[in-house]
């Protein structure tokens, strides 16, 4: 889908922002670019839609060199979302979402229908929100509109630069779930930039850890936690919290014993093991009853099973 070969970019300073970097992104993948500030992750993202032109190297999207396309046409085929300030304050929600379809000269009826469809997809009531201005929305609602706008023209690729950076933890969590749902539903390729390792582990199917313009390690979330390539990765994924983060990657459903039972308030099979651990400790028990998403008893989770298959 996206092939980057030996790209480099140096801004004013002596040190390159992106240094001789190659990266291949498969279609349908949810790729998270992560690193501390100044690692070059945003620059890399912005090269994909030519907001930044590389000094050297080439980038292919669907096998075509992006330099052979007009930047505007390229960008209209890719969704783009940044922190919540990115909404146009002088346009209503509907106008904001319809930006790219209008640039692509869709008919008004088609744009209207698409706006309503997207608002519904992001759990915003079209009748209530269509005509609001951004300043009349909460931060979370603004960001939902930002995501809807990025999705508007049904792009193959979604580029997101710290889209949830300015949100409070609860709202951020809800939107992350939302994004995962949309990704699963649409099968779009997503490239997301963040500096938050928990966000990266939760969202990414493929994580690219960057430092000083180069890729330090890439792979599935589990690979980074289990087999950090060096001390830098080990530090970045959090030395003392690796165990907890591993638990966060798995769900109760994968570890429960179906034919067992336990007493007490049941937990959902959809819960992460990290949350289950917290429940064990809080209740001072070593087994928990589990119910499935319809609320039917599904079995029990044993404390000792948290360790299984992890070594």
């Amino acid at each position: 889908m996206i092939e980057m070969t030996q790209v480099s970019k140096t801004f004013g300073g002596a040190r390159p922002a992106v240094d001789d970097l190659s990266l291949s992104i498969a279609a349908g993948e949810f790729v998270v670019l992560i690193g501390s500030s100044g690692s070059g992750k945003s620059t890399l993202l912005r090269m994909i839609n030519r907001l930044v032109e590389p000094d050297r190297g080439e980038i292919l999207v669907n096998g075509v060199d992006i330099r052979r396309q007009r930047p505007e046409d390229l960008r209209r085929r890719m969704g783009y979302a940044i922190q919540s300030i990115g909404l146009f304050p002088h346009w209503t929600v509907a106008q904001n979402i319809g930006t790219v379809p209008r640039l692509l000269k869709w008919t008004k009826a088609r744009i209207d229908a698409r706006v309503d469809e997207l608002l519904a997809l992001l759990h915003l009531d079209p009748a209530e929100f269509r005509h609001r201005y951004p300043h009349q929305l909460s931060g979370g609602q603004q960001q939902r509109v930002g995501v809807a706008r990025a999705l508007a023209a049904d792009p193959d690729v979604l580029l997101m630069d710290e889209p949830f950076g300015a949100l409070d933890p609860v709202t951020r969590g809800a939107l992350q779930e939302e994004l995962l749902r949309i990704h699963a539903l649409s099968g779009k390729t997503v490239v997301l930039v963040t500096h938050d390792i928990d966000e990266a582990l939760q969202l990414g199917s493929h994580i690219v850890l960057m430092n000083q313009g180069r890729i330090v390690q890439q792979g599935r979330p589990l690979d980074l936690l289990r087999r950090p390539a060096n001390a830098f990765v080990h530090d970045f994924v959090g030395r003392t919290e690796i165990g907890l983060r591993l638990l966060a990657l798995d769900r109760v459903a994968g570890r429960l014993r179906p034919n067992e039972a336990a007493v007490g308030e049941p937990i959902s099979a959809d819960l992460s093991l990290r949350e289950a651990l917290s429940t064990f400790v809080a209740r001072r028990v070593d087994r928990l009853p589990v119910v499935d998403d319809q609320g039917r008893p599904a079995g029990a989770l044993f404390f000792s099973d948290l360790l299984e298959r992890q070594l």
């Binding site: 839609n49 907001l51 930047p71 046409d73 960008r75 209209r76 940044i82 990115g86 640039l103 706008r149």
Partner: protein, 257 residues
């Protein structure tokens, strides 16, 4: 009608009524100034003076708006960015220049009549407009520009659909300042015989005829107020997308002279 709109209607009504009534206001002025015989300014028709005043202000402000905003726009584009500090220096230095000084210098150089006044008003009018355009474009959030590019807008689309609409309230405030200043300076142009509402004031002052001064001053004041309110009414819908800002000390940019 909003408050601004009703104030505008009231001010416009007062201007029209007064213009119609003043020629017949001899008895009223006789009460105020009992020992005088020439009480009402009759060398020109007041309505004519208002129209002449508006014509000279309108023409100069229109030209100034076109050139001033064009120059400021150029100094914010990537290819003209190098000239921006120079423009800012010019604008800062010109703060020290009273508008009437431009008129006073232009007249002996160009000659008497409306042309030097027109040129002086045009030149001084450039300053607030360019300033407003710079400030307006600066007020556009960087995120909006960035996202416009990222979504695939061309530079022209970004300018017309995002930057200019967002800058519009501030740009209009600059135009408002420019026009308000020009209305005052145009009145001063009557000192060199240009036909504006300043004539009754100047003739009254030089002939110690206080009624003339009063008639001219009231009309000039009302005209300035009406035009200012018209701009306020015009800018109301432009900012409807903004969160309400409850600070009456801030948004007024009208200047004296």
């Amino acid at each position: 009608m909003s408050r601004v709109q009703s104030a505008l209607a009231l001010s416009l009504l007062a201007l029209i009524v007064l213009t119609g009534w003043l020629p017949h206001a001899g008895p009223a002025f006789a009460l105020l100034f009992p020992d005088r015989d020439r009480l009402i300014y009759r060398q020109d028709d007041f309505a004519d003076l208002i129209l002449a005043h508006l014509a000279i202000v309108g023409a100069s402000s229109l030209l100034a708006a076109l050139l001033g905003s064009g120059v400021a726009l150029a100094a914010t584009r990537r290819w003209g960015l190098a000239f921006r500090p120079l423009l800012e220096t010019l604008l800062a230095v010109s703060q020290a220049l009273p508008p009437v000084a431009v008129l006073a210098v232009a007249t002996p150089l160009i000659g008497f009549g409306p042309l030097p006044a027109l040129i002086a008003l045009f030149l001084y009018g450039l300053l607030p407009i360019a300033q407003g355009m710079l400030a307006g474009l600066d007020s556009v959030p960087e995120g909006a520009r960035e996202v416009a590019r990222g979504l695939g807008m061309t530079p022209a689309q970004t300018l017309w659909q995002v930057e200019l609409p967002l800058a519009a309230p501030v740009v209009l405030a600059g135009l408002r300042t420019s026009v308000t200043i020009n209305i005052g300076t145009a009145a001063l142009a009557s000192t060199v015989g240009v036909k504006t509402l300043g004539l009754p004031i100047i003739i009254g002052l030089s002939g110690f005829n206080t009624p003339y001064v009063l008639q001219g001053a009231v009309l000039v004041g009302l005209l300035a107020l009406t035009v200012d309110l018209a701009f306020a009414a015009l800018s109301e819908p432009l900012g409807r997308w903004r969160a309400p800002q409850p600070s009456p000390g801030e948004p007024t940019l009208a200047g004296a002279d």
